[in-house]
């Protein structure tokens, strides 16, 4: 198709789509249900109702000389009963009526006058919401029928090169048939949905054309398309109906299409390998695929106005879809009783990490979500102690602490290593592994505001920031930071504050290494020891040896002294030996 034809095709499609949307709005207005008011009438069950009963169906209770007869006659003579008598009369009436119904072999729940006026009234007023046509009697075409022209045009555009993809004997044809059937069942009541349906159809057509092999297994692929279409289209149309402006509606449509395409492309392989697991429906609950689809759509279209903007590319979303499906398959408890757990998890990760992850790197968030999902699935017993309850937010909290610190330099610092996305993810992974081993990392001790994790990261980054120039390369700084986290996992004393300097011991360890090896005026020593790899290795050795043997201010001073001695030795022409350095540091620590 040439450019000119494409332009004309697009204009025609747009016109037809707009007209279809308008007709759908008109149709839905014509068929709009109205709640209808009744004419005025005395609506409260009172002595008048009772008197009618005792003069008709309940006449056997109307015994001569009884109160019932007296009250009934009074009502029929147009007189009002005293308030207490009327109350008794109505109470007797309701009892006698229930008794009569029972005697006649019927049953009914006994209701007080208040109940009948409240609960029962809710029922009968609900019947006054009246549709224009009876079910199946609406002569207007359905939304799907209105859209047929546009869908055909889109289909022609995609499938003209290989029309055999549309044959209904083939899995691809079944998938398309399944989509059209599912989209026809979605209740589009407002004016915008037709465009959504066309966007989703375009995404399906593109996926079928580009990757027909994804739709390999007949029934499973049909079910996959059906599940995903219902989940995404229904959820998106509800959100569109509630949206207040065109921009929001268009945003929801774009996100829905992105999630839909990812679910088809990425879920295809995973889901079709175990269709019973992912597409099975049990007890009327939505299938696993449907749940994940809704969860992801809910995560990217958050009501609290977290603007995820360009954070999710198509490939990033593909990765998250696969990770979410793997996670719930590995740990079905993640679904929760009402399938809400995975949804809440994805939403909370996206919401908590959106801002800080954007500052670290624009495409970090999807990977952070994947990491948290994977780790949660691996440690579901720890993070989901009670089936049906929301997961403990340990990993989300830990991720937030890490990313906030990697994203925001302390105003007091002059420098901080700038981590690339891969570096930040490596730190994050190390931290999440530590937290799953010891959840105490993210719990602030009594009387303190900072969690051990926050305190250690702050102290380590402060140590890194304070090093003399030239500073470590980000990759080297990352190795030091991971070593500090690992050492902190073994020795909480790294967070102790040295009373003389007011610094945490973690900061002091790094300062001991950096200021010694990168300080001093001896050019020959600096030539060997100030090299990035040497400083990094020395810092890691110091952290590991102190974690092995215990951390105190005295021992850190011993490390500093050893490094000074090494510097002097190298300045005097002695060879530098990294393994030997580790041994000397170890001996000094033991002697301190």
């Amino acid at each position: 198709m040439g450019t000119a034809e494409l332009i004309i095709f697009a204009i025609q499609a747009a016109i037809r789509l707009a007209e279809a949307a308008r007709r759908a709005l008109v149709d839905s207005t014509r068929r709009q249900a109205l709640t209808l008011p009744l004419p005025d009438f005395p609506a409260v069950i009172d002595a008048n109702s009772a008197a009618d009963f005792y003069k008709s169906d309940g006449s056997t209770f109307n015994v001569a000389g009884s109160d019932i007869q007296k009250w009934t006659d009074l009502v029929f003579s147009g007189q009002s009963l005293p308030e207490t008598a009327e109350r008794d009369f109505v109470a007797r009436y309701l009892n006698d009526r229930a008794l009569l119904i029972f005697r006649k072999g019927s049953t009914t729940a006994f209701r007080s006058a208040e109940d009948l006026g409240g609960v029962a009234a809710t029922q009968w007023t609900a019947l006054l919401e009246v549709r224009q046509w009876r079910k199946g009697g609406d002569p207007n075409p359905s939304t799907l029928q209105r859209l047929a022209g546009t869908l055909i045009e889109v289909g022609v555009d995609y499938f003209q090169r290989d029309p055999s993809l549309l044959r209904t004997e083939r899995p691809t044809g079944k998938a398309i048939q399944s989509f059209l059937s599912a989209i026809g069942d979605v209740s589009f009541s407002m004016e915008k949905p037709p465009r959504l349906a066309v966007s989703l159809f375009g995404a399906l057509a593109e996926s079928v054309q580009a990757n027909p092999e994804l739709f390999g297994a007949d029934d499973a692929s049909r079910l996959l398309v059906d599940n995903v279409t219902r989940a995404v289209a229904k959820d998106a149309q509800e959100r569109i109906a509630a949206a207040g402006d065109t921009n929001t509606e268009e945003g929801i449509e774009a996100w829905a299409t992105l999630v839909f395409r990812s679910m088809l492309r990425s879920a295809g392989g995973t889901v079709l390998s175990a269709p019973g697991l992912y597409l099975g429906v049990e007890g009327g609950r939505p299938s696993l695929v449907e749940t994940v689809g809704r969860a992801l759509l809910g995560a990217v279209i958050q009501e609290d106005a977290v603007h995820l903007g360009t954070l999710f590319t198509q490939s990033a979303m593909d990765g998250v879809v696969q990770s979410a499906l793997r996670a719930v398959a590995a740990s079905p408890d993640l679904l929760g009783i009402d399938h809400s757990v995975v949804s809440a998890l994805v939403r909370s990760v996206a919401g908590e990490l959106a801002e800080s992850s954007q500052q670290v790197g624009p495409d970090l968030l999807p990977d952070a979500i994947r990491l948290v999902l994977d780790k949660t699935a691996e440690h579901v017993d720890l993070l989901l102690p009670q089936i049906g309850a929301p997961p403990r937010p340990l990993l989300v909290t830990a991720s937030r602490v890490v990313l906030e610190r990697l994203a925001k330099p302390d105003p007091a610092e002059h420098w901080r290593p700038r981590f690339a996305k891969a570096d930040a993810l490596a730190v994050l992974e190390e931290v999440l592994d530590q937290v799953t081993q010891n959840p105490g990392w993210v719990t602030p001790p009594a009387g303190t505001a900072s969690s051990p994790l926050a305190a250690l990261l702050d102290a380590s980054l402060k140590g890194l920031a304070a090093m003399p120039v030239p500073r470590l390369r980000p990759a080297s700084a990352l190795r030091v930071l991971r070593a500090a986290v690992a050492a902190g996992g073994r020795r909480l004393e790294l967070l102790d504050v040295d009373p003389a300097s007011g610094e945490r011991l973690a900061t002091q360890v790094l300062d001991a290494v950096f200021s010694t090896l990168r300080g001093g005026a001896d050019a020959r020593a600096a030539w060997t020891l100030a090299r990035d790899e040497v400083v990094t290795a020395a810092a890691i050795e110091a952290l590991e040896r102190l974690a092995d043997q215990g951390v105190t201010s005295e021992r850190i001073k011993a490390v500093r002294g050893t490094l000074l001695a090494v510097r002097n030795d190298v300045g005097s022409g002695a060879p530098f030996d990294l393994e030997g350095l580790g041994e000397r540091v170890s001996q000094a620590i033991a002697a301190a």
């Binding site: 000119a4 004309i8 204009i11 016109i15 707009a18 007209e19 308008r22 709005l25 008109v26 207005t29 014509r30 709009q32 249900a33 109205l34 709640t35 209808l36 008011p37 009744l38 004419p39 005025d40 009438f41 005395p42 409260v44 069950i45 109702s49 009772a50 008197a51 009618d52 009963f53 005792y54 003069k55 008709s56 169906d57 009502v75 029929f76 147009g78 009526r97 119904i101 006649k104 072999g105 049953t107 009914t108 209701r111 009948l116 006026g117 029962a120 009234a121 809710t122 029922q123 009968w124 609900a126 019947l127 006054l128 919401e129 009246v130 224009q132 046509w133 009876r134 009697g137 004016e191």
Partner: protein, 275 residues
């Protein structure tokens, strides 16, 4: 080669221009239609909200004519009806051709007439409904046609209630309005079928009229044997209508609805057991 290219360009430009003009014309008509439709939806929603508020207030002994404890709820209902009537009338007077083209004229007229009725403008409502022309014809949307046919009966039901409550009219006047209302509502119900959603509304409205009749029998100084004869007539009608109501609402899974009306009218009818 160059000439051939320029011919292709000219063809493309003409095609694009034609498409653009078509798009512009469509866009203008489209914008008007969408705006009119949206306004009508607003009128419909305003009317429905008002009706829901009024229906909910029924069980608290309130009507639009009796403000007091429930004044706030009914005040909001009155505002809703007024807004619905105003929008629908504006559309009918200024956008009749658009409404007719889109098949929305009768829905707009129905909302206006029903709103006027609830606002107490009984004569305006009745006149509008009785002169609705094609909207009462066989080609009109079924709910709207039936409501317009029923509206004079609904107005008469209100008249009967007001006369009975005021106590200044004799029983015969009240009964004439009760019978008039029941007759018109039955005619409208005959125009619908029990399968149509509006049928339940017409039955319910008749039950409401019966309740007014029941009160009138006791409050208009009737004495036997005339009172007994009137009560027997009322009871026969009550049993007939409750039987019909039972046959519809019990199938709809709403036994509480029958329980309410049956208890209000002093009957033992329920959804369980034999009719």
């Amino acid at each position: 080669m160059q000439a051939s290219e320029s011919r292709v360009c000219a063809v493309v430009v003409r095609a694009l221009a034609a498409a653009a003009i078509a798009a512009l014309a469509t866009a203008c008509s489209f914008a008007t239609s969408v705006s009119v439709t949206r306004q009508l939806r607003e009128a419909q929603e305003s009317f429905s909200s008002a009706a829901a508020a009024e229906n909910a207030a029924r069980t608290q002994k309130m009507t639009l004519a009796e403000t007091g404890a429930g004044g706030a709820a009914l005040g909001s209902a009155a505002s809703g009806y007024a807004l619905a009537a105003q929008i629908a009338r504006g559309l009918r007077e200024n956008e009749a051709s658009t409404l007719e083209r889109d098949g929305l004229f009768c829905p707009a007229l129905t909302v206006e007439a029903m709103s006027l009725w609830r606002l107490g403008k009984r004569d305006d409502a009745r006149t509008l409904a009785e002169n609705a022309g094609p909207c009462r014809g066989v080609d009109a949307p079924p709910r709207d046609r039936t409501l317009l046919l029923a509206l004079p009966g609904l107005v008469q039901a209100d008249d009967a209630y007001r006369m009975s409550r005021d106590g200044v009219h004799n029983y015969e006047s009240v009964k004439a309005n009760v019978m008039g209302a029941l007759g018109k509502l039955q005619d409208a119900a005959a125009d619908a079928t029990p399968r149509q959603p509006v049928y339940v509304y017409l039955l319910t409205s008749q039950l409401a009229v019966l309740r007014t009749w029941s009160e009138a029998i006791k409050s208009e100084g009737l004495v036997d044997p005339e009172q007994s004869a009137e009560f027997q007539a009322y009871k026969d009608k009550r049993d007939e209508l409750l039987r019909e109501y039972r046959s519809v609402v019990c199938d709809l899974g709403s036994p509480e609805s029958l329980d309410y009306w049956s208890t209000l009218l002093g009957s033992r009818k329920t959804c369980s057991g034999t009719p």
